[in-house]
Symmetry: C2
Subunit: 363 residues, 2 copies
């Protein structure tokens, strides 16, 4: 740990493809590409690690095919670290007919309806084929609104699956790291219980799953601030699938080190851009003749070269360049949030840094 400011932590994460400063934001590269960007763009943006989706890559082009290409890094031309999720979340959110048993989760592909089974051992095998730097265990992401009994039963299954994942790839058996995932829904004692059970298994890091699934912000923050301190302090802590710039700053405040979210890239494609003055919906008529830079405090390629008027035109004309320039900017913004947060922690000014975000964003 390089420094702390309250619960906020500035550290480093060591992986087979290099050391990553934390806190860190991981752009999402669902299908072997961060949508609209090439690896050179990501490097220029300062991305230090990206996320790959096991569910998608398993279905297409297939993890074994990627293994024959030398792994995901080589296949997609990215030589910095990659974290892969377990695929569980996509099975629950994207795939058709699914059936959960002690053994694993059976599902049908959202692409062609074909039948598949993810077991803990299978998702480890897939992630070994992908050759990611950090593997995630298979878990059940409990839907928002699940009751206490269901959630309690589910977290037991998540723990048993976590143990089977670890057994399929014991600590120290290779260069890939493996993180456990705490569940427990929106019940504080179950969150505590889930993490307590996980701590019996030797993982290289610990994540919080099952947040940003439909709950209100106060509910999310309540669980976040309750659970983050329960994760071991000497290991990286990862808040999965979260979130807005303010969510991330609050996550850092709660002691989280790692974040991923499709929000910056997906919103970019929908024309919603994050700036130091808040969100800009670039399709709005008010930007038609706006010659200003999107965000005067941003130094990304988009802000250095183009006006809001041009970005609006590209969006209105549905030009491919719109997706690219907007994605570049939003990812630059999210990456700067965590970089600036790290500096604020080291400077001991994190609380005023956080207050700035609370002044700009209300969610």
């Amino acid at each position: 740990m390089h420094g702390t400011d309250g619960s906020a932590r500035a550290g480093e994460l060591y992986t087979a493809h290099g050391t990553i400063p934390t806190p860190i934001f991981m752009p999402v590269g669902t299908q072997g590409t961060v949508k609209a960007l090439c690896p050179e763009d990501l490097t220029q943006l300062g991305a230090r690690i990206i996320l790959g989706n096991t569910y998608h890559l398993y279905l297409r082009p297939g993890d074994e095919m990627i293994a024959r290409r030398g792994g995901l890094h080589r296949f997609m031309g990215w030589d910095r670290p990659i974290l892969t999720d377990s695929g569980g979340f996509q099975v629950f959110s994207l795939s058709g007919l699914r059936k959960l048993t002690e053994d694993g989760v059976a599902f049908s592909s959202h692409i062609d309806g074909s039948k598949h089974l993810f077991t803990p051992e299978k998702v480890v095998s897939i992630q070994r084929n992908l050759g990611s730097d950090i593997m995630m265990v298979l878990d059940e992401c409990v839907p928002y609104g699940a009751d206490y009994d269901y959630t309690k039963k589910s977290l037991g299954l998540t723990t048993r699956w976590a143990a089977r994942c670890r057994a399929a790839y014991p600590q120290g058996s290779g260069t890939q790291l493996m993180f456990g995932i705490g569940q427990g829904g929106f019940f504080k004692d179950l969150r505590q219980e889930s993490i307590r059970q996980l701590l019996d298994i030797p993982f290289d890091g610990y994540a919080l799953g099952g947040l940003s699934v439909g709950e209100t912000k106060p509910e999310m923050m309540d669980i976040l601030y309750h659970s983050a301190p329960l994760l071991p302090g000497e290991k990286p802590r990862y808040l999965m699938g979260v979130g807005t710039p303010l969510d991330i700053v609050r996550g850092i405040d709660a002691g989280i080190d790692m974040f991923d979210c499709v929000l910056p890239s997906r919103n970019a494609r929908n024309g919603t851009l994050f700036t130091s003055h808040g969100k800009v919906n670039i399709k709005r008529a008010e930007y038609t003749e706006d010659d200003a830079t999107l965000d005067p405090q941003c130094t990304c390629y988009t802000c250095r070269n183009f006006s809001r008027a041009y970005l609006r035109h590209l969006y209105q004309a549905k030009e491919l360049l719109s997706y690219r320039l907007n994605t570049i900017h939003n990812l630059a913004y999210f990456l700067r949030v965590v970089t600036d947060a790290r500096q604020a922690i080291l400077d001991g000014t994190f609380q005023s840094f956080k207050a700035r975000f609370e002044a700009v964003y209300d969610t």
Copy 2:
């Protein structure tokens, strides 16, 4: 003129935004962007001049709006030369209900059905607002199959419109160049007559229009080789909207200096890629596990970094990066064709250069 080899010419074209070596290929930037690429990409590809479409930019975002932004160069962040067409071709190919009179052509927008009128004076005014380096005159692109009488009558109108365009912007009245366009369909005497009439008007360059409109290759080549030598030798000669790599090489052989075509970028988005060994349809199953570079003789970003297997995966997954990487490669290929052709002309080896293309491509 730096050199000739038979009728093929290696020269230079002087514009307000710099000097261009010829022969040259102009990537098409329809709506203020070469689809999927940013200006930095084009510069890295070695593009020296791009084409902007008057019809599209007039309708959206509007030429007056672009003028208020300081012109098209500044609006889109491109500081090298731009040629704009007159919009006539798109009126005939894209717009709805149109009516041709001596005055001009009335049409309805393909975007919202609104009514518009392009006169020679209007398209010059639009192109002045856009601030292109080279303006094209309004012409009627006679459809393939038009009979002799219609074509003869039409070329007279095209000449009168050309004279009105020139009168609206007399030679030397500004830094923008203006090119005339010869028509005449597929009748050699009418091609000759059209060019003869145009030569009475002082233009900075001369183009052949109305080719690649549905005719067979032999028909196109017959008219091309007949007409190109009729264009004045001391001025740039431009073959509009053509064509395949072999078309371009043959155009150069006929004495043409400038080319534009949507083919490389449109085909890129459809997965058809041009290589030194011919066309590659990247969606074919045979490339699923092909670790080779798309074109081993190419040094573009795509070929330096990615395999055919990865390009096929991106195409199959409909990833935005597919459009970008494919476009980069195809434009690199087309730009190399003209660069290599120029060198071959200077080396006096153009005929063997041309023979190589005839061996690889049959059309």
